[in-house]
Symmetry: D2
Subunit: 118 residues, 4 copies
Amino acid sequence: MGPGFDDLTRRLIEFRDARDWRQFHGLKNLMLSLNLEAAELLELAQWKSDDEIETAAADPGFRDRLAEECADVLLYLLLICERAGIDLEAAAAAKIERNAVKYPVDKARGNARKYTEL
Amino acid sequence: MGPGFDDLTRRLIEFRDARDWRQFHGLKNLMLSLNLEAAELLELAQWKSDDEIETAAADPGFRDRLAEECADVLLYLLLICERAGIDLEAAAAAKIERNAVKYPVDKARGNARKYTEL
Amino acid sequence: MGPGFDDLTRRLIEFRDARDWRQFHGLKNLMLSLNLEAAELLELAQWKSDDEIETAAADPGFRDRLAEECADVLLYLLLICERAGIDLEAAAAAKIERNAVKYPVDKARGNARKYTEL
Amino acid sequence: MGPGFDDLTRRLIEFRDARDWRQFHGLKNLMLSLNLEAAELLELAQWKSDDEIETAAADPGFRDRLAEECADVLLYLLLICERAGIDLEAAAAAKIERNAVKYPVDKARGNARKYTEL
């Protein structure tokens, strides 16, 4: 069992407040920063074919870099949700439910079309 | 208590497999898609000043849109980690620890400089 | 008078072909790379307020970094257009025309609403 | 012969000023908006393999959408450079020169490694 959303958020806020960084963490800056971390994650795929990146992910060193970039994205997500008063877990669970309605199994099965084109 | 990382991942994989979508979910496509969702989140800040977005986040309708975009980013993060065999919770906890070392309280307090410039 | 679109493209293709890099420059990789360069440009605004970045742009050193990141984005744009057979200049001129229709002066004047909300 | 950088910029500024939009076009907002347009361009590659997108680009309808997204990126680039006093053409020409030094033909030929790893 990992620390879970609430405990990760608590640790993160403790980290932030010990450095007096709340003043920099306006929502716009956090959303912008999340995009930069997402780009750093994507950079690991640059110049690699679809297959090459699957192969690379089997290498522990590459997987560690992948894990670190994923962690960075998650940390900004938690900061945004704490700032805006969003329950991220509940929002994610609700989104899976909505997607299940938008993409009915019988129509979506085996194709990658957007729900507006189903 | 929310569903937690493991349970969200389980529901998501169930959703994916019922639609036979694993074939589309190569790592590169997932990383690319996560970037698109991050951009949709950022779009909510477009043409808004720092203050305007804080004010907007007090509005339940805007907060719902924010929550939905955050959820989309999280769902792709979970799909990537499942695919690559990454323990996202552990990676995030470890990253908070590493950041605490990189940004010592006495040097980082109250300034937004990158750790390489501290 | 600068070199213009055609001459910049010609120099860029000469650069690419001398290194035998056309093989790496598939459209998907170029589009992904353009996004990474756009993020590097955006990174220059991270943790800066709207005002701070305007002030920073008055500094020649900062403006040089800005110029270099803008150049990187343009170079990928030219590579994409060369690859896909797109006349970028004509496309940009046409887009300004279309925007003029989408945003009529009398309705758009002084507000930042999207054309769908005018 | 197309309109060139200067003339495109002139038309764009005329468009902007007729709508009194300079007030919204702070550098940070323009840089953020450029990233959103880059993401819209990338979205055209979502769920497509490397090969599928090359094939799609042979289709005039798809190429038109590609051209429009490329145009959007260029227009923001021109707005940023006008705002910051950057000569984009000169910056791009200079960057090609610098890249030629960073990636010597004999070392870079046929491989996609970053210059720091050559």
